[in-house]
Every structure is written in C-alpha cells, then in structure tokens.
C-alpha cells in the first residue's frame, strides 16, 4: 500500500492540533468557534470536490442535502411528544432508551427522540433521496445536469421555507446538544468549544481519508487516468454509472452529516442554509480550490468560510467572494493551492504588460 498519499492527512492532523494549542496559549480560543463551523462546511465541500473533480459531475443542489440532514435532526429533536407520551409506539421507544426528556430554559418539559436516532434517520433519508434522484439525474449531462441538481436544491428550499413544521422563514431553534458518547457533546456552549473543534476536524479527517481511498480505488483510478473519459473507462470494464452514483450518494451523506452536526453546534437551522446561493458558493469554492484537488478545496473552504463567518469583509463579504472567484478563474483556473501557481500568475501578469511574452507557448 502506498502510504505517501496519506502524508497530507498527517500534516492536517498536526496543523489542527497546533492551532488548538496556539489559540490556547494566546488566550484566543474563541477563534475555534468559527473554525469549527468552517470545518463542517468544509466536510460538505470536500464531498462535493470528490463529485465534481473526480466523478466529473456538477451539483448545484448540495445545500439541499445539507438542509435535509440539518432539518431532519432539528425537527426530530425539538418536536415535543410529551402529550402523546402514553402512545404505545412511544412507550416502546422509551423502553428502548431512544427518547430524551429534558427541560428548556423556561422550565417546559420536552420529550423527543434521541439525537443519535435523529442522526441515523437523517442519514438514511439522505441516502434514500440521493439514490432516488441520483439515478435519473446522473444520466443528464452538462448544463442539463446543472439544471436538474439546481432544481432539486430549489425544491428542498421551497419545502423548508413553506412548511409550518420546519418553522417556515424562522427555521428551527432550540435544538439540543448531541451526546455523541458519554462526555462528548456536540453543542455550541462556550465550555464545550475545544472538544467540538476536535469533533468537527476528526469528521473532516475521516472524510478526507475515505475520499483518498475512493479516488484510489479501481474505478477511481481508471477514471482519473483516463481524464474523466467515461467511454474509455467503460471499455476497460469499469461500471462508470455505478461509480458515479456511489460518489453522488457519498457526497450527499457528507453534506447531510455536516448539516446534522452544524445544526446541533449552532442550536438551530434556518432556510438560508438551503438556499441556491449556498449551493453556488460551495461549487465556486471547489472550483477555486482546483476541482480535483482535495487539499486545495479544503484550504479554500476553511479560509473563505472562516473569514466570512467572522465578518472580516463587513458589507463587502459577497463582493470580495466574487472578486476572489473571478481572479482565480481568470489567472489560476486550476486552483490557487498547488504546484507552480506562483510562476503561472507571474506569467499571466507578464502577458498583460505591453510587449510582454505573448507569443510564448506554454503547456497547460
């Protein structure tokens, strides 16, 4: 087995630990809040990177899967079943230990499903929906595929925005923390911050390792070496459509898991998480990260989300994002974080100068 491809994972682990230690040393652990949130968005983004970069399928509906995960868990862990506590199904659930009785800030008693059950339920629903739409959607190509996935995203957005049970425009609030294991709790409380930072990044690291393996599987290798030519891969006996569907479902699971965890971390979710602009943002980050470049995408996702969530650009947040996109796509279309990018940018700027080296041919 070729261990070399796991070196960046080791570096990532070290960087994650280093940042935590540094922030503690300098007494600025509050940066971890936004780094945790960024990690969950990154988890979604690397899943999408896999789908776009390696399987060659664009998806403008990824925020839809994020919302399916987030809203499912938010709904199941906030809907109060205390009035129906005597119903036989609920008694059964209670005896199975998958119900939670808690008290909110105002002293109301709330009986709901345990977050673990909600989490599993969210993932199952996601897999089901991803298969259901994946089969017909992945037969489409190009702009038609983009439109179909966009359409899926719009439907999810409209459903959460129009349904009373999902809080309509207000979204769902007061989502409880998620006791992952005894003593390990996904929640936004300031006391749990360091722990949550590690939970988020462990998820990202697991996600990254899974992706690396998938990329290097037989089908993944075949597609990669054939430069995404499905016809060529098919002739080699690779079941391309099966592979694409699997990747599509996997990327949906990543998005959904990110949605579940971030919803527990934020203690709520709103319809803006399902909006088309979010999906577009994820696609743009993958493109800016260099498409089939897992690490480039990860760094872009963390950096851009971190800066945005901290409000660094104020009212120019969207404008700055747009400029970054345009500049990267114009001057470094294969992403910013990779080998030889500096010389390429220099080259692009030289081209702009009058009398520059216009006629130089360059292999790209």
């Amino acid at each position: 087995m070729d261990l070399k491809r796991y070196y960046p994972v080791v570096v990532l682990i070290l960087v994650v630990i280093l940042i935590q230690i540094l922030t503690s040393l300098f007494g600025i652990t509050f940066y971890l809040t936004q780094l945790t949130m960024s990690a969950y968005y990154s988890l979604l983004t690397i899943g999408l990177c896999m789908l776009m970069g390696y399987a060659g399928q664009i998806s403008l509906g990824q925020a839809g899967f994020f919302a399916i995960g987030g809203y499912t868990t938010a709904f199941l862990t906030t809907v109060n079943l205390i009035d129906k506590a005597e119903a036989p199904v609920l008694s059964l659930f209670k005896s199975l230990g998958i119900m939670v009785l808690r008290e909110d800030l105002y002293g109301n008693k709330i009986l709901h499903l345990s977050p673990w059950v909600a989490f599993l339920f969210a993932v199952i629903i996601t897999i089901f929906i991803a298969f259901l739409i994946g089969v017909p959607v992945l037969k489409l190509k190009g702009h038609y595929l983009a439109m179909a996935t966009l359409g899926f995203g719009i439907i999810v957005y409209r459903v959460v925005l129009g349904t009373r049970a999902f809080g309509e425009a207000d979204g769902i609030t007061r989502v409880p923390g998620f006791n992952l294991l005894p003593g390990i709790r996904v929640s936004g409380d300031f006391a749990n911050r360091v722990e949550n930072y590690y939970i988020a990044w462990v998820l990202v690291i697991i996600g990254a390792i899974l992706l690396i393996n998938l990329v290097n599987s037989r089908a993944g290798r075949a597609l990669r070496y054939l430069h995404g030519s499905e016809e060529a891969a098919s002739t080699m006996g690779v079941n391309v459509s099966r592979y694409k569907l699997n990747v599509f479902v996997l990327s949906a699971i990543y998005a959904s898991v990110a949605g579940v965890f971030l919803t527990h971390f934020n203690a709520g979710i709103g319809p803006s998480e399902a909006s088309v602009m979010k999906s577009v943002r994820y696609v743009a980050i993958v493109a800016a990260g260099g498409m089939a470049n897992l690490w480039g995408t990860l760094i872009m996702a963390v950096t851009l989300n971190f800066l945005s969530l901290r409000g660094v650009f104020g009212t120019y947040d969207d404008a700055v994002f747009a400029v970054i996109l345009i500049v990267i796509m114009l001057f470094a279309p294969r992403g910013l974080i990779r080998k030889g990018v500096i010389s390429e940018i220099e080259f692009a700027f030289k081209k702009l100068k009058p009398g520059g080296i216009i006629k130089v041919k360059r292999e790209s």
Partner: protein, 296 residues
C-alpha cells in the same frame, strides 16, 4: 372555476412566462455563440431598470430607456472584453464560475452605487390603476407592452439570425467556431456582439417589466434562475422554444396556485420540469442528437 377565472390565470401565467422568456432568450444568444451560460443575465435586466429609473427625473421616459439600454450594452461589451476575451478554450465550468462571480459582483456594486430600496418606472401607457377587460378577465396595459416587446424581440432575432449577414455569421460561429474563422468571419467580434445583444435585450426587458415587477438591486439572481430553467426546458440555444417554455412554466405556476398554496408554487413547477428533463433530457423541443453535440 368560472371561465373568467381560468382566463385570468392564463393571463397571469402569460405575464410571468413572458418575463421568464425574455431572460431565457438572453441566455440563448450568448450560449449559441460561445457555448457558455452567462449567469449575469439577470443583472442586465436589473441594470436596465435601475439605470432608466435614475434618468427619469431629468428626461422623458423613452430617452431614459434608450440611454439605459445603451449603457447596459456597453457594460455587456466591456464584460466580454475584460473577462471573456483573454481566455483560450476555457472549460464550461470555468466560464460558469466567472459569470456567477460577475453576477454577484454587479449586484453588490449596484447595492453600493444605488441602495437597497425599490424603484419602479412609470407605466408606459396608463397608470397603476388602468385595467383592460378582455372577456371578463383583466389585464394591465403594461402586460400588453411586455408581451408586445417579447414578440418583437423574437421576430427581430429570427430576422437578424436568418436574413442578415452578421446574424448568419453569428450562427456560423455557433455551429463551428474554427470553420467560421477560416471563412473569414471575425469570431471575436461575433462573441462580443452576442454579449452586446443579450445585454441590450436584458436591459429592454428590465425597463419594460419594471412598472410591474419593480426594480431592486437583488432582482437579478431569481430571474436568472427562472430564465435558466426556461432555457433548459426549451432546449438550450433555441429562442423560439424558450418563449414556448417560458409561457408553459408561467402557466404551470399560475395554475398550481389555483389548486395548491402559493408557497409550493416552485415545488410543483420545478418537479414537473425535472420529470420532463428525465424523460426528454434535451428539453421539450430538441432532438437527442443536438444535445449530444452540445455538452460539457
């Protein structure tokens, strides 16, 4: 449902549908000459309305509209020169991202130049309270303007593309850029022209619909999404089909409202669209062979 009501829903659907259709036509023009979808198309519509509105206090409406169209066209041309021309054989995805970036950028610039408030141009004829009655259903004179101008654009485009030399040259570019350039057609000029043309059409649409829909810095993106939907539904690159598809989507939306809560209007319309795509992956009016030619 009474006859008047059915007719009213039809009128409503046609109004909305023709707005979608004009945006879709803008998409198609650029798609035909470059093979890319310009997601900033909705922003051209916004610019048309918002610029014309800024001029109305100082000049007659007609002049303001003309000026707005000219300025928007210039911006369209500039976008092509600065962002599109320098790229050689860009991938489709790269172009999508650039145009999405442009769309966001133009929107944010508009927010900072103008403001977040809404504007509406005055009605071309009559006023907000004028209403024309046709077989018991009511329609605003501005809707007739929108329909008339959409029809005019479609007819003019057909004429332009089939009966003028420049139009034919543009079609040649669309069919095969290399071959066209070998025939002595200046393909770069044609691409630039397509941006000018779709910006101009967007701006005209923006001015025409402004009295009805109002103009707002962020109106571009929702319109672009609907326009894109319609362009796909009709089959990319086919402007006549886009008009039919636009009317179809408008009617679908309007009749879905008659039966179900309006909150789910898009759910119904988009679900039907997805079903159509699954069974006819190239849009309603296009054959499979053409689709196979124009993919990523």
């Amino acid at each position: 449902m009474s006859f008047e009501q059915v007719l009213q829903y039809i009128f409503s659907g046609i109004t909305v549908g023709s707005i979608y259709a004009v945006v879709a036509i803008g998409f198609n023009i650029i798609y035909n000459s470059t093979g890319i979808i310009n997601f900033a198309q909705g922003e051209f519509v916004m610019m048309g309305g918002i610029i014309a509105h800024s001029f109305t206090p100082t000049m007659p409406l007609f002049l303001a509209v003309v000026l707005a169209v000219v300025i928007t066209t210039a911006v369209g041309s500039l976008i092509e020169l600065v962002f599109i021309r320098s790229l050689k054989n860009p991938s489709v995805l790269r172009m999508i991202i650039i145009t999405i970036g442009l769309s966001i950028l133009i929107r944010e610039i508009a927010l900072h130049i103008w403001d977040e408030k809404i504007r509406a141009l005055p009605f071309f004829t009559g006023s907000e309270v004028t209403s024309i009655t046709i077989f018991g259903a009511h329609i605003s004179p501005q809707v007739l303007w929108v329909l008339g101008i959409t029809a005019l654009i479609v007819v003019a485009l057909q004429f332009f593309f089939y009966f003028t030399f420049t139009g034919q040259a543009m079609r040649a570019c669309a069919a095969n850029r290399k071959a066209a350039s070998l025939c002595g057609i200046n393909t770069r000029k044609m691409v630039n022209l397509s941006f000018c043309l779709s910006a101009a059409i967007g701006a005209v649409a923006g001015c025409t619909v402004s009295p009805l829909t109002q103009t707002h810095y962020a109106m571009g993106t929702p319109l672009a999404i609907k326009g894109f939907t319609v362009a796909i539904l009709g089959g990319l690159g086919n402007s006549t089909a886009a008009v039919l598809a636009g009317l179809l989507l408008g009617l679908l939306e309007s009749f879905s409202i008659s039966l179900l809560p309006m909150a789910y209007k898009d759910v119904i319309a988009i679900s039907i669209l997805l079903l159509i795509l699954f069974f006819r992956p190239g849009g309603l009016f296009q054959s499979r062979q053409i689709v196979a030619l124009k993919s990523f």
